[in-house]
């Protein structure tokens, strides 16, 4: 073979390897600024084309009743009345000291992380003024699990611009749902949440006999018809490799008289599911993701999985010699002051919320669903904004070519969430609560199980249903936040609505 021919063949072979890779790389690059409205493709879930829905590709073409599309920035809380609960939060990037003495470099709200607990009573108009003192990348607050109006959802680049240094943004919403929630930044969320821009939200029911806050302790006490009770939140977060409960390390003591019932509101703010259990006592699962369980039975020798972003309220009747709520290395210790409770090892069986509690009317008829969506997660090699790797797929498509789940206001929607990706995913739908219908074909037979954060393990397939009653553009993503940053993000879009906010660009919005 002549050396010239050989060289030509070598060059051709090189090109055959490099050109396809280069093309894949180049085509994956994202522009500096983009709108989620232009992302992916419209998925109507087999339903009719709603008014204002785009014909080809995603993006609003008209309003919900024809005319021009409605900008989600206008979807604010009705009324301008005086707020029942007001909270000013100032975000700072700084070093702070954990109770263990460890110095952590991260973010604080009003000088602390977790930030102050937002306490409200059901029906209260809540107003939170967020000021960014010195976080160069900007911040937002998302009200995880609270179905706020879309403009208050706090997603940078989708529902607002990031609040840059020196700026202020006011969130207003009615706390319509009693329960346990949390707030966190949704700007560069995979970093800002991990490094501390978060706090708890507790909404007490409007019924009489509810507790009042004891400032600073995270513990509220009160009385009910059943007698004295304590109500404590246990916000679990890992700082710099150190797991904490309400910022504390080790045993968090909650003084409680034997015989009283303590409600422990567990909030998992980390990126993976957490296994919790109780040493020394039985417990009941009173609420999941802010919704009360119907007729919760006693649980003994079983653990409960609280997924990333999820919450579970446990009721523990304090025994004579105390009890421990075990939270991944730390514990909330309930009992007389100074009580020493033996920690029991993690049970090997788990509470199954599919069958826990008693059935009740859920107020949603999924048999009459207007749209049926698939959210099938997979994984394949490729490029994500120019970076090679093994990336998540949704219905076989890699971000940003993902489905735009398009609905009309009032639709009953079912969604099959299937995980074929090799890893567990805590799936979080903004602005809505979904009712779990079945898992792997096995129908739910317990209490109506409403979620905003659903633990979908590898190989599992859930069917959920929700009512599309909160117009706007909503994220539907994995709450293992690095996964979201790796492209495990889709959106639920109401036809006729649009957002003028953009990711990237001069506003520097980076929702994931």
């Amino acid at each position: 073979m002549s050396s010239r021919l050989r060289l030509v063949l070598a060059c051709l072979a090189t090109a055959a390897l490099v050109v396809p890779l280069g093309w894949l790389w180049w085509s994956s690059l994202m522009p500096d600024e983009y709108s989620v409205m232009e992302m992916g493709y419209t998925d109507l879930g087999g339903g009719p084309v709603p008014a204002g829905a785009p014909g080809h590709g995603a993006g609003a073409h008209g309003g919900p009743h024809g005319g021009t599309p409605v900008d989600v920035a206008t979807l604010v809380e009705d009324g301008t009345g005086k707020a029942d609960v007001r909270l000013d939060l100032t975000a700072r990037e700084e070093s702070f000291t954990l109770a263990s003495g460890r110095e952590v470099s991260g973010y604080t709200l009003n000088g602390a992380s977790p930030g102050p607990t937002l306490r409200a009573t059901q029906g209260d108009l809540v107003e939170v003024r967020l000021t960014n003192e010195n976080v160069p990348e900007g911040v937002t607050l998302h009200w995880h699990g609270i179905d706020v109006p879309n403009a208050m959802d706090g997603v940078a680049g989708v529902t607002q611009d990031a609040v840059l240094e020196g700026e202020t943004f006011t969130y207003r919403f009615v706390a319509e749902q009693a329960g346990t929630y949390w707030y966190h930044s949704h700007q560069i969320s995979h970093e800002q949440v991990r490094r501390g821009l978060l706090g708890a939200v507790v909404v007490q029911p409007a019924a009489p006999g509810t507790g009042s806050a004891r400032p600073g302790t995270g513990i509220s006490t009160g009385s009910s018809a059943a007698g004295q009770f304590a109500d404590v939140e246990a916000l679990v977060h890992m700082y710099d490799g150190q797991r904490t409960v309400n910022g504390q390390v080790g045993d968090v003591e909650v003084p409680a008289d034997p015989g009283t019932t303590v409600r422990v509101r567990v909030i998992n703010t980390d990126n993976g599911p957490m296994t919790i259990w109780v040493s020394g006592a039985d417990y009941r699962v009173l609420a999941v993701d802010g919704t009360e369980v119907n007729a919760p039975g006693p649980v003994s020798d079983q653990a409960l999985v609280v997924t990333a972003g999820g919450r579970a309220d446990l009721a523990v009747v304090v025994p004579e010699d105390g009890a421990r709520v075990e939270l991944a290395g730390n514990a909330v210790v309930l009992g007389p002051t100074g009580v020493d409770v033996r920690a029991e090892p993690a049970p090997t069986t788990f509470v199954d919320l599919l069958t826990y509690g008693e059935p009740a009317a859920a107020g949603l008829d999924p048999t009459e669903a207007d749209r049926r969506f698939d959210y099938v997660m997979g994984r394949r090699p490729g490029f994500h904004d120019g970076r090679p790797g093994l990336w998540w797929t949704i219905n076989g498509h890699m971000w940003p070519d993902v489905p735009m789940y398009t609905v009309a206001t009032g639709d009953v929607v079912t969604m099959r969430i299937q995980n074929d990706s090799g890893e567990v995913h805590p799936m979080h739908l903004h602005g809505h609560h979904a009712l779990v219908l079945s898992r792997d074909g096995e129908p739910a037979t317990g209490s109506p199980w409403w979620v905003d954060s659903l633990n979908v393990r590898d190989g599992e397939s859930y069917e959920v249903a929700f009512l599309a009653d909160n117009p706007g553009v909503w994220m539907d993503h994995c709450h293992n936040l690095p996964h979201a940053a790796e492209g495990l993000v889709a959106h639920l879009m109401y036809a006729g609505y649009t957002t003028s906010f953009k990711a990237g660009g001069h506003a520097r919005n980076e929702p994931e």
Binding site: L7, L17, D270, N271, M274, T275, A308, A328
Partner: protein, 155 residues
């Protein structure tokens, strides 16, 4: 170019050494952290991106090197082989790249079923041997006349 061929063969082999060392270092560190410091490893800790124990860096090295650096080295090795005029060199570079692809796939599937992890360990030996042999045979060919072999060289 022949030197470049040898260098990339040895770099792939060196990569396998780094992979074996880093992952065992990390697992040892994990064991010590759990055993002696009472560390709790669950999914949330696993996903925290925090330095739970110093040797966690071994997992990161293993992932970065295995998913990016070694595949890139193997790809460049194959491209170099097109130009290096090493008799049979393209075939051996292709075997190395194939073993890398299999190795990455086994590493990924090892997260679904541990048996693939078993094969991942075995295939590491195969990959290492292929890379070492590809490098060594250049040296041995250099000590012998190579003209006749060039006649049969696949392109």
């Amino acid at each position: 170019m022949r030197t470049a061929y040898k260098v990339f063969a040895w770099l792939v082999a060196l990569g396998v050494v780094v992979q074996a060392a880093s992952v065992v270092w990390a697992v040892a560190g994990l064991g010590i952290w759990v055993d002696k410091d009472g560390g709790v490893l669950d999914k949330a800790a696993f996903e925290s991106e925090e330095t739970l124990f110093p040797e966690v860096a071994g997992f990161m090295i293993h992932g970065l090197s295995g998913m990016m650096i070694i595949p890139a080295l193997a790809l460049i090795f194959l491209i170099v082989s097109f130009f290096a005029k090493v008799p049979g060199g393209i075939a051996w570079a292709a075997y190395v790249l194939l073993a890398v692809v299999v190795q990455v796939a086994l590493g990924i599937y090892g997260h679904e079923a541990a048996v693939w992890g078993l094969l991942h360990g075995i295939n590491a030996m195969i990959l290492f041997s292929l890379a070492v042999y590809a490098g060594l045979r250049v040296s041995s060919l250099e000590r012998r006349p190579i003209a006749p072999a060039a006649e049969h060289e696949p392109v």
